[in-house]
């Protein structure tokens, strides 16, 4: 019962919380509607991609502390490449940025596999490295983003209440995640996170799978970095506050640190919840510092609750 709940109930519970929050938002701000939804989903973008990036490696039994730095590298790379570039070149630039992301992630993964140093340590070191790389590419805010690319996340899509940014998010996540999850690689990622010895014995190439998981993480981080440039119109070399936020959302979303469990849906819902909480607190014009406290408390309380549930589950 508890296990079943932990498996699907967690996501269902998050959805319920999200629904309640939407109702609450509508009550405190009766005008809340399409434009609110639009700004909410645009605010989500970088967090959602950072979270997706983190979720993949956590599912694979690892962690990546360099996510925010990789986003910065991708963001400035995009801004520099697109600066003065034509529409066609922009597409090339996007492809390059995605490749850069894949490469950064693969380097992280390869270093973990080759050095056999714990992932948390390797990615801590790489956090500095990618930060440095971003600064080398652009030593201050600069570059620009091609207008048509920026338009991708502005305004509604077909129907007025559906923000394009949400569609963009869904398309990117689905385009990467669904084929991945269906593929052998996706299964292997879950397998090495769940039990890497058993995975190896089942014929999984553990090292290669780990590198691939980190590469996917880098890819998501690159898309996240791209959305930074898309929404601001230029590149910032200083990493934004996405590292800790992504770890928090991943755990809130039901992905267990240690690996093997969870998916992307839960963490993404967790991201929406956290953004919506911030929006509500701003709408209520709550002291901004209290907002930080509320965010921290939500995280701690929910995770403690999850911990107690899991403990009870083990001892039934």
């Amino acid at each position: 019962m508890t296990r079943q709940f932990l498996r699907h109930g967690w996501t269902a519970g998050l959805l319920a919380i999200l629904a309640l929050l939407f109702v609450f938002t509508k009550i405190i701000q009766p005008d809340f509607g399409t434009s609110g939804l639009d700004s909410l989903s645009r605010a989500m973008l970088p967090f959602a991609f950072a979270t997706a990036a983190m979720a993949v490696v956590v599912i694979a039994g690892g962690i990546d502390l360099s996510v925010a730095s990789m986003m910065a590298v991708a963001g400035v790379t995009a801004a520099v490449l697109m600066d003065g570039a034509g529409d066609g070149m922009t597409a090339v630039a996007v492809v390059i940025v995605l490749l850069v992301g894949l490469t950064m992630g693969a380097i992280n993964g390869a270093l973990i596999v080759i050095t056999r140093v714990p992932d948390i340590v390797v990615t801590l070191a790489m956090l500095y490295v990618w930060e440095g790389v971003a600064l080398l590419i652009l030593n201050g805010p600069g570059g620009s983003a091609t207008p048509w690319l920026r338009e991708l996340i502005v305004g509604p899509f077909i129907v007025p209440w559906l923000p394009r940014s949400l569609v963009f998010l869904a398309v990117c996540l689905v385009a990467v995640w669904v084929p991945l999850k269906r593929s052998k690689l996706g299964l292997s990622i879950y397998a090495i996170g769940s039990n890497d010895l058993a995975a190896y014995r089942s014929g999984v190439s553990v090292g290669r799978t780990r590198i691939a998981a980190y590469a996917v993480c880098g890819l998501f981080a690159a898309i996240g970095g791209l959305t930074l440039t898309m929404s601001t119109g230029n590149g910032e070399p200083i990493p934004g506050p996405y590292l800790m936020a992504s770890v928090a959302a991943v755990v809130l979303g039901g992905v267990v640190l240690g690996g093997g469990k969870g998916a992307l849906l839960g963490p993404i819902i967790a991201v929406i919840i956290l953004r919506l909480v911030r929006m509500d607190l701003t709408l209520l014009s709550v002291d901004p510092n209290v907002t930080t406290i509320v965010e921290g408390t939500i995280m701690v309380v929910v995770v403690m609750f999850g911990g107690v549930l899991a403990y009870r589950g083990r001892h039934k």
């Binding site: 605010a43 030593n139 910032e236 911030r278």
Partner: protein, 321 residues
């Protein structure tokens, strides 16, 4: 409280630094004393331009009448500014300029800030000597602007040599360790230009028993105190008032009341207070206030723009608190 008072939104992306805290307090105090503001809606946290876009959109959702923001960088938040303006919201950027059309800018001139201090320093050195250049945070917009100003002064004094260039990240501890490291090398230093991490630099000279050299800092309470009290110390503070936030609120209220400024951009030019000229000395003496946090700029008011008292800004209370 006026029933028809305004609601003003505030967006700031650096938290936990004295200058920004003073700026927010100035906004609150000015809103309170103006009597025209019902409530302030403050988004104040550590984040990037994208986070500021989020905060500003939330403020738009909250239906504020005006937004006063300290932009994360000058181009990065234009999208939200344009949306706000389209929604009929008055937008005032303080401290740094924004490039969005229709926004009002009330900014400290960062380029001039660096130029003024550097020029003073180079003059003190008689046009030649070894200077330690202690910048802000690598990659930050304001740091880049200041660098431009600094380089401009350098061009005027070709014999000045930068012997050491570091980024303090606007962190007191890093700045202190960096200067101590440099002092330990025993290499020459004739003057230090800092981007506002200043009082720890003076401390470092004193603690290492190295003869003090001319140091340029900002008008932070701690540094201004040192300018007045440390014996044998020649230095200058360049003003970079955090109270610009209060001025921003005033400007926003004026616009809301229909009093349009002549131009969309108002630059608040810095002034320099050197402790080796009588005028500067007097200003420094007048600015002493032991009650101020050492990280707070002492120029808590901007004449003509702010009306609150020293006590009111220190109380840091906004309307309805």
């Amino acid at each position: 409280m006026a029933a028809d008072g305004y609601t003003i939104g505030i967006s700031n992306t650096v938290q936990g630094n004295g200058w920004r805290e003073e700026m927010v307090c100035a906004m609150k105090a000015q809103a309170l004393v103006s009597g025209k503001v019902d409530s302030l809606n403050i988004a104040h946290r550590n984040t990037d331009a994208t986070g500021q876009l989020e905060d500003m959109r939330n403020l738009i959702q909250a239906g504020v009448d005006a937004i006063v923001l300290n932009p994360s960088n000058s181009d990065g938040v234009n999208a939200a500014i344009e949306e706000a303006i389209a929604a009929g919201i008055v937008v005032v950027a303080v401290d740094q300029a924004v490039s969005a059309e229709g926004a009002y800018v009330l900014s400290n001139n960062q380029e001039e800030y660096a130029y003024l201090g550097a020029k003073w320093l180079f003059e003190q050195l008689g046009g030649s000597g070894s200077v330690v250049y202690m910048r802000g945070a690598a990659g930050a917009g304001a740091d880049n602007d200041r660098d431009t100003g600094f380089k401009r002064a350098m061009e005027e004094y070709p014999d000045i040599k930068i012997v050491h260039e570091v980024f303090t990240g606007w962190q007191q501890d890093q700045g202190k360790q960096q200067i101590l490291d440099y002092l330990s090398t025993g290499l020459p230093v004739d003057g230090v230009w800092t981007s506002g991490i200043d009082n720890v630099i003076v401390d470092a000279f004193i603690e290492s028993d190295v003869p003090l050299v001319p140091i340029v800092g900002a008008d932070n309470a701690g540094f201004v105190g040192q300018l007045a009290t440390v014996e044998g110390f020649t230095g200058a503070a360049v003003t970079n008032p955090g109270s610009i936030g209060g001025a921003g609120v005033t400007l926003a209220l004026q616009i809301l009341d229909g009093k349009m400024p002549e131009s969309n951009t108002v630059l608040v030019d810095p002034s320099i207070w050197a402790n080796n000229d009588p005028e500067g000395k007097a200003l420094i003496a007048a600015a002493q206030n032991p009650n101020l946090d050492p990280e707070w700029p002492v120029s808590v008011q901007i004449p003509g723009w702010t009306d609150y008292s020293m006590d009111e800004i220190i109380a840091c209370k906004g309307p309805g608190e």
